[in-house]
């Protein structure tokens, strides 16, 4: 009986929605463009309520850094993984510390309180 109850709660917990990004400590390597370095990242969306994530790059003091990517707002389906590259100018290499993805919330949703998740990886120095 207890095992059935535990199984029921385990099934309930599987309804949770997750946001993941790897690697934790990416390396910025020279890209095919002169003077530009690239970090390869992977995003996993298990949030059914979220379809878009924004890429952000910061210094150690959380000041934004200019970067390029194939898409700065990533459209990603539920339970899907997407790889993306973040290109940073070599002159900004020393001050680039965090690469983050933040979930975007739809405007005009009927939900009264929402959770925006953000995961930040730290550049391997």
């Amino acid at each position: 009986m207890y095992s059935k109850v535990i199984l029921f709660f385990l099934c309930l917990s599987l309804q949770a929605h997750a946001h993941e990004m790897t690697p934790t400590y990416p390396a910025l390597a020279p890209s095919y463009i002169d003077g530009v370095s690239v970090a390869k990242m992977k995003l996993f969306n298990r949030r059914e309520d979220v379809g878009y994530y924004q890429i952000l790059v910061y210094t150690e003091d959380w000041l934004p850094i200019s970067f390029a990517s194939e898409e700065k707002i990533i459209k990603i389906g539920y339970n899907k993984t997407k790889s993306f590259n973040v290109y940073v100018r070599s002159v900004d290499l020393d001050k680039t510390v965090y690469i983050c993805t933040v979930s975007k919330v739809f405007k005009g949703t009927n939900q009264i309180a929402l959770v925006s998740s953000m995961i930040c990886s730290k550049i391997k120095q």
């Binding site: 993941e20 400590y25 309520d49 009264i112 995961i119």
Partner: protein
Amino acid sequence: MKQITAIIFLLSTGTAMAVDSPIVGQVQPKCSVYTETQGVYGHPLPNKLSTETADGGVAASIRYDIAQADYYKARITHPNSFSSSPTLTDAIAWTGSSVVGQVSVAGMSAYEAAKVTYNNVTEFDMTLAGSTWFTVKSSASYGYTKSLPAGNYTAIIKAECIAK
């Protein structure tokens, strides 16, 4: 002759190769943020919205799964403004909290005592691998005995997981 041929064929079929078929997996050091319960504001008074159970609300529950000890810190920001609401002519007084709920490792209970709080932000140092549930509460009071105008209100909790 026919028998010898048959034996040769039988032997040849008996030399089938057995191949190992391994299942491979890799667990990377990573952080997963799970929104287990989206918060809901109750409306106990005309000028108040609150996630307290006593006020008819539901507190948000956010789970952090940490695959590698001491690699991440959690930063949770409870709302201090509405992201969308009807036009408000008076100030809103916001309160809120982020506390450790369930833990998968007993030692994680110490996160609560070691948390750092500033403004509407609470930081937890995730020194152990495993799952930690955080309960986030929020309350908004409008002006002095003023009723909140009818309409849709949305406030956003920000749950961050930052590599150390």
